[in-house]
C-alpha cells in the first residue's frame, strides 16, 4: 500500500526546532533546579542559555503564526475540537495502549484524543512557562516578592508536569510497539496507508475520498 | 544659622573630597521648618536659593520637624540652617556656580577682642528655584 503524507516540511522543521529548544530549556532548567550544580559563573551562563532558549521558544511560534496564521490557528483550534471519537478513545485507551485488541479502538481523526490532550498540555504548559518566566526575568523588583515567589512555584510545577508529558511523548514516539511509524513520520513526513487507516481512520477516509473524488 | 554636620568638617578643604563622606552628605543643604516650608511652597528635595545682603547660594532643601517657628516677644521667627562645608572646588562642589559656601552669606563682623567672625546668625531669605 502506498505511503501517505502526514506532516509537511514546515511542520516537521517546526517540530524539531521546538524539540531542540525544549530539551535545552529542560536541561538548563534541570541543572538550575538541582542545588549546588550551578555555582558561580557556571550558574550565570546556564541562566543566560536558558533565557536564549526561552526567546527562541516564544519567537518560533510567533514567526510560524506570522508566516502561516491559518495553520497556526488550526493547530490551536484542533486542540479544543472534541467529538464522539474522543469519548470512544477515552474508553478504549487503557486496553489499547497496553496491547489489547486493536479493533476495540474506534477510528480517530488526524490527531487522536491523546494527541489532542497533549496539545492542550503544550498550549497551557507553554503559556504557564512563558508568563511566569517573563515575569521572573523582567519584573523582578517591580512586582511584589509574594508574586515573584508564586511565579517560581508555578514554573516549578509546570516543569514537573512537562517532564512527565515529555517522557510520555518520547515513549510513544520511540518505544511503544503500536506507534511504530510515529518517529519516522516526523522525519520524512510519511506514514504507510496501513498505519494511517488503522490509527487515523477518519482522516485516512477523508484524504482517500478526496483523491478519488 | 550655620550648623555643622557629622559627616563633614570645616570649610571645603578636606571632606568634600572623600568619596565615602560625600556618599553620606553629597550636597549643600538648607534645613527649614515645616511652617516656613509651607509658606514658601518648598518641599524636601527642592533646590532653594538662600540669600542675604552679602550674596546668595543654592542648596537642597530639607524640611524638618526639628526646626520650629519661634515666638520671640510678639514676633514669629523662622530659621534656616546652612552648613558651611561646601565651596567652589572638590569632588563635591556646591550647587550654585559660586560653590554654595555658607561664608558667602555671613556678615563681615567680628568680635572686637579676638577678631573671631560672627558667623552664626543673620537675616536671610529663602525661595524655591
Amino acid at each position: 500500500m502506498a505511503m501517505v503524507e502526514r506532516y509537511t516540511p514546515s511542520a516537521r522543521w517546526f517540530h524539531w526546532l521546538i524539540t531542540g529548544v525544549f530539551l535545552e530549556l529542560v536541561l538548563s532548567g534541570l541543572l538550575l533546579f538541582i542545588p549546588w550544580l550551578t555555582s558561580g559563573m557556571v550558574g550565570t551562563w546556564i541562566r543566560l542559555i536558558h533565557r536564549i532558549g526561552a526567546v527562541i521558544l516564544v519567537g518560533a511560534p510567533v514567526i510560524f503564526t506570522l508566516v502561516s496564521w491559518r495553520r497556526a490557528w488550526y493547530f490551536v483550534k484542533e486542540a479544543f475540537t472534541w467529538g464522539k471519537a474522543d469519548i470512544g478513545w477515552l474508553k478504549a485507551a487503557p486496553g489499547y495502549y497496553f496491547g489489547g485488541d486493536p479493533r476495540l479502538m474506534p477510528p480517530q481523526g488526524y490527531i487522536n484524543t491523546g494527541m489532542r490532550l497533549y496539545r492542550l498540555a503544550i498550549l497551557f504548559g507553554g503559556l504557564s512557562f512563558v508568563i511566569t518566566g517573563l515575569i521572573m526575568w523582567f519584573f523582578k523588583g517591580v512586582i511584589s516578592p509574594e508574586a515573584f515567589q508564586w511565579c517560581v512555584i508555578i514554573h516549578d510545577v509546570t516543569f514537573i508536569i512537562a517532564i512527565c508529558m515529555f517522557f510520555l511523548h518520547f515513549q510513544l514516539a520511540v518505544f511503544h510497539p503500536r506507534m511504530d511509524e510515529g518517529l519516522l513520520s516526523m522525519v520524512d513526513g510519511k506514514v504507510s496507508g496501513v498505519y494511517a487507516r488503522s490509527h487515523h481512520g477518519i482522516w485516512y477516509g477523508k484524504i482517500t475520498a478526496k483523491k478519488e473524488g | 544659622m550655620t550648623p555643622r554636620l557629622t559627616e563633614h568638617w570645616h570649610a571645603a578643604q578636606l571632606t568634600p573630597n572623600h568619596p565615602w563622606l560625600i556618599e553620606l552628605q553629597p550636597q549643600p543643604i538648607a534645613e527649614l521648618g515645616e511652617e516656613l516650608a509651607r509658606d514658601k511652597g518648598i518641599r524636601s528635595g527642592d533646590i532653594v536659593e538662600v540669600s542675604t545682603a552679602r550674596g546668595s547660594i543654592q542648596a537642597v532643601a530639607i524640611v524638618t520637624k526639628r526646626f520650629r517657628r519661634l515666638r520671640i516677644g510678639t514676633k514669629e521667627v523662622d530659621h534656616v540652617g546652612i552648613p558651611w562645608h561646601w565651596g567652589y572646588t572638590g569632588l563635591s562642589k556646591g550647587i550654585s556656580p559660586n560653590g554654595s559656601s555658607g561664608n558667602i552669606l555671613t556678615p563681615h563682623v567680628g568680635d572686637a577682642n579676638t577678631t573671631i567672625p560672627e558667623y552664626k546668625t543673620f537675616l536671610c531669605n529663602v525661595r524655591r528655584i
Binding site: 538550575l32 533546579f33 542545588p35 549546588w36 550551578t38 555555582s39 558561580g40 550558574g43 550565570t44 546556564i46 541562566r47 543566560l48 533565557r51 495502549y97 497496553f98 496491547g99 489489547g100 485488541d101 526575568w137 523582578k140 523588583g141 516578592p145 509574594e146 515567589q149 508564586w150 517560581v152 512555584i153 516549578d156 510545577v157 514537573i160 517532564i163 512527565c164 517522557f167 510520555l168 515513549q171 518505544f175 511503544h176 510497539p177 503500536r178 | 557629622t6 559627616e7 568619596p19 565615602w20 563622606l21 560625600i22 556618599e23 553620606l24 552628605q25 553629597p26 550636597q27 518641599r43 524636601s44 528635595g45 537642597v60 532643601a61 530639607i62 524640611v63 524638618t64 520637624k65 526639628r66
Partner: protein, 263 residues
Amino acid sequence: MAKAILYDATKCTACRACQVACKQWNELPAEVTINRGTYENPPDLSPHTWIKIKFIELEKEGKLDWLFARQACMHCTDAACVEVCPTGALSYHELGFVQYEKDKCCGCGYCAEFCPFGVPKLESGKITGVGVMDKCVFCIDRVTNGLEPACVKTCPTGALTFGDRDDLAAEGRARVEALKADGFSNAYLYGDEELGGLHVLYVLADRPSVYGLPEEPEFPALASVRDNIFRPFAWITWGVVAVGLALNVVVARARQLRGKEES
C-alpha cells in the same frame, strides 16, 4: 557558641561611622548620591552598601523624637535566603550568622525576593541576567580571628556591641525593661524570637513598625515548600512515570507478540 550583634537604637546618634567602617573594611566603593531632602544616604542597600542608618522624625503627643534605625542583614536563624539559594552560596556559619560565598552566586535573585527584610541586593543585566548579590557578611574574616565586626569596633556610643548571643539577648531584655521603667512603654527587643532568633538584636524604644521593621517577619512558606516538598516530589514523580512508561512498553510488546503468535 552563637555570636550576635546588639544594636541599641536608643544609644545610636546616627553618626554613620558604621557605614564608613563597613565600606573601608570590605573595600566597597562609594555610591554616587544626591541629597533627596534627607540625611539618609545612599537611598537603599545595594551590592556596594551593606549597612545604612534610617532617620525617622516621629511626633508623638506633642513631643518630637528623632529615631535612628540600623538597616543591614539580620542574620536570621531561619533564613529564607539560605533556603532558596540554588547554588549554596548562602549558608549558615557555625557561629550562627548567614555567610555568603560570592564566587558561588549565579545571580538568580531569589534571595532578594524571599528575604522578609529586603536585604540582599543584586545588580544584574536586565537582558542577560548576569549579576551578583552582596550583603553584610558579619565581618567573618574579623570575627573568626578574635576581632569584632568593623561596625561594632567603630561605634563611638556603644550602641553596637558584639558577643555571645545569649549574653546580648539578656542584656537587651534588661535594657528594654529599663526603658519601660523610663516611660517608653512600647520598648521592645527585636530579634529575640523572630525567625528562630536573629543574630542582630535591636533594642527599640517603640514598636518595630515605627522603625520601618516588619512587626511579624515570617519565613515565606513558599520557600520551604520549594526545597522540602517540590524537589523530592519532582524526582519521585519522574521516577514513577518513567518506570510506569517502561512497564507499559514491556506489557504492550509482550501482548502484541502473543497476539501475532495466536493469529
